[in-house]
Amino acid sequence: MRIGVLLSELAMGASATVIEVTDNGTNDVIARRLRDLGFVAGEPVRLVARGPLGADPLLVQIGYTRFALRRAEAARVTITVDSTP
């Protein structure tokens, strides 16, 4: 288990748990929306797919929903990577 990794660094197909979303500057609308979408402490996430160019955007499964996040957006989310079974 690795603690304090960024969601943008998660390996393909790997699962993790959200620690927190960090604001990029003051009044970060993107960070606020990420929290509204469910990226809050304790929430399990999984990297489902990556875009064809530069592995961007990332398709992240959170709860029962899949969100496409660009790398810069995913880099606001700090996670704990689950140990692979």
Binding site: N24, V29, I30, R32, R33, L34, R35, D36, L37, G38, V40, A41, G42, E43, V48, A49, R50, G51, P52, L53, G54, D56, P57, L59, Q61, G63, Y64, T65, R66, F67, A68, L69, R70, A72, E73
Partner: protein, 611 residues
């Protein structure tokens, strides 16, 4: 109490793509557009129904939102209506929160956020059929008790699927407000988790079939190949499937015109009917099959949930060009017509991305341009099979569409380069579960699109065609004139005047005349050509005339012109309304005209030099 005072005002609110509009259609018996992606509804929509008790209920369908902290123009409408800040709209008596039963983890958070407003509300758990199929079990009684509001189950896509909801709205007019309070975001999520743990059991996170399809469709190589294949198939189908139908309609209308013309006395009326109405309208109406086939594909793609996947695959490329993956759906809609495409940009949160998308949407080849392309391709490109399976005419059509797309990307890239604000753009886009397109919905959608086209033909296109006939018939030829009468008419004069501007593009004066009414509706260019040539005494069909009288260079030049086609007044009016800026309209019209002129000039001169 009478009338309006006794009307119950309810508003449908919820996350994007949870089926609010399907529920709205079921309640009010209307046919608002539904599809399988976030952000179909971009305006508030209003409808009525009479409850079993005889009470009148006014229903508002609001755009989907993830949060009251709105990040896009459509989300702001929802926030303003339910908080009573929307001008001219009273606060609804009852908020009907709609949540997708298969996605409660996300949707309940918004329900709790709205509940904090302290307004009377109830929760409709929609898509209960899908939830049951996936083995999701929800204890609605316990959920209602935990949430402190009534909870009803609905299946918006099934006849009678809103019965429980209607009964509930009718039976419980006094709903007790949820106690208002304010809590930070994380606490709402914690509350959702606690409620779900106590009331819902879910066997697995996503539908297995979604995982399987996404593995193929979102594969970096395979996914792009599938996307290209799907797009290419559409253009092949538009040509190869529609041709027999097209020819049949064309022949039928011509026969009807000749039959009717034979029964009329020779003179102005006969000329108006045969040369004006039948030659003009018949030529346009024959393109109905092409337009329906194009829409059949677009509707199936919309319903299936594939479109957001395409947006995912293309996001990085579109970002490089100064756009966002979210631009994909508005731009694809623009292939039907730029107007709904431009309105669909309201679901793009970033104002810069939205403006760029609006400015390039008219470069997507709208269905009104299809008659022009189809006419010229059929006249000049031989019907031939390439590499065993591809239709050469289909390939040329595909190339014209690609030319529009490439120009759009270049224009977007230029806009990005000259823009000063280079701060971060966001994507954050939900990919929905796949859904099998419902044949009934597809048929309704096709019927409505077909009717829009037929009504255009019967309305504005008929009016313009008749007007053009008048301009082309009067004043008549002087005595002893040797040229066809149209040469002396008002239209003839206008055509010759414009001809001095457009001669370097290889346009003859007949084309110049046709460009003018084409400002109002692009298809009219085709009907106008048919009318002008019919009045000039040509007995053949338009396609045969064009094939024999125009040079290939002229035809290619006109095709290039229509890739940009700066002439559509309704599009310009929509851009004015959506952006509230005359400057944007001038920029749009100016750059389109400039590009069209340059492209046609280059095409004509090169084609002439080569031949």
């Amino acid at each position: 109490m009478t009338g309006a005072a006794d009307t119950l005002q309810i508003a449908l609110v919820g996350n994007p793509n949870c089926g609010k509009t399907a529920l709205f259609n079921l309640l009010t018996g209307t046919r608002q557009k539904v599809a399988n992606y976030a952000g179909v509804t971009i305006e508030r929509k209003e409808g009525h129904y009479i409850a079993p008790s005889g009470r009148s209920v006014r229903v508002l369908d609001l755009p989907g939102a993830y949060s009251l902290a709105a990040t896009s123009p459509d989300e702001a409408i929802t926030r303003d209506v339910i908080t009573g800040r929307y001008p001219g709209e009273a606060v609804p008596d009852l908020i009907v929160c709609v949540a997708d039963a298969t996605n409660l983890r996300l949707h309940l958070r918004f329900v709790l956020e709205i509940a904090r407003l302290g307004r009377p509300m109830l929760l409709a758990l929609n898509m209960m059929d899908a939830a049951k199929r996936r083995g999701i079990r929800i204890d609605t009684a316990a959920l209602a008790q935990k949430l402190g509001m009534p909870v009803v189950e609905t299946v918006a896509i099934k006849h009678g699927g809103a019965k429980a909801l209607i009964e509930h709205i009718d039976a419980a007019p006094q709903v007790h407000p949820y106690p208002p309070s304010s809590e930070p975001a994380a606490d709402l999520h914690a509350e959702v988790r606690a409620i779900l743990a106590a009331t819902v059991s879910i066997p697995r996170r996503t539908a297995a079939v979604d995982d399987a399809i996404d593995r193929v469709v979102l594969h970096p190589v395979l996914g792009l190949a599938i996307l290209a294949l799907v797009m290419f198939l559409i253009f092949q189908a538009v040509f190869s499937w529609a041709t027999p139908l097209h020819d049949g309609i064309d022949a039928g209308i011509n026969a009807a015109g000749e039959w009717l013309g034979a029964s009329l006395p020779d003179g102005a009326l006969r000329s108006l009917v045969v040369d004006g109405v039948f030659a003009g309208l018949g030529t346009v109406l024959a393109f109905l099959p092409q337009i329906l086939i194009l829409f059949l594909f677009i509707l199936c793609l919309e319903e299936s949930g594939y479109l957001p996947r395409a947006a995912f695959l293309l996001d990085r490329m579109m970002l490089a060009a100064g756009l966002t993956g979210r631009s994909f759906i508005p731009l694809l809609s623009s292939f039907a017509c730029a107007i709904p495409g431009i309105m669909a940009t309201r679901s793009i949160p970033d104002p810069r991305d939205r403006l760029t998308t609006i400015l390039i949407a008219p470069l997507m080849t709208c269905s009104a341009r299809l008659p022009v392309y189809a006419l010229l391709i059929a006249a000049f490109i031989p019907q031939r099979t390439v590499a065993g399976i591809f239709n050469l005419q289909g390939i040329v059509l595909f190339t014209l569409y690609v030319a529009g797309i490439v120009s759009a990307l270049l224009v977007a890239w230029v806009i990005k380069r000259i823009r000063k604000d280079k701060s971060e753009h966001a994507l954050m886009m939900e990919l929905p579960s796949y859904r099998m397109p419902h044949p009934r919905d597809i048929l309704i959608g096709l019927y409505e699109r077909g009717m829009i086209f037929v009504k255009r033909v019967g309305g504005i296109i008929l009016a313009l065609t008749v007007l053009l006939w008048f301009l082309s018939s009067f004043p008549g030829a002087p005595a002893g004139a040797t040229d066809p009468a149209i040469d002396y008419s008002l239209a003839g004069m206008i055509g010759r005047m414009l001809h001095t501007v457009f001669a370097p593009l290889g346009f003859n004066w007949q084309i110049c005349i046709a460009l003018v009414p084409g400002l109002a509706a692009r298809e009219v260019a085709v009907s106008s050509l048919a009318t002008v040539y019919a009045l000039a005494g040509n007995e053949d069909g338009l396609q045969a005339i064009v094939a024999s009288q125009w040079s290939l260079a002229t035809a290619l030049s006109l095709l290039a012109w229509y890739v940009f086609a700066p002439m559509c007044i309704s599009t310009l009016a929509t851009v004015k309304r959506e952006t509230g800026s005359v400057r944007n309209v001038v920029v749009l019209a100016g750059y389109l005209f400039g590009l069209a002129y340059l492209a046609s000039f280059a095409t004509y001169q090169i084609a002439k030099a080569l031949s």
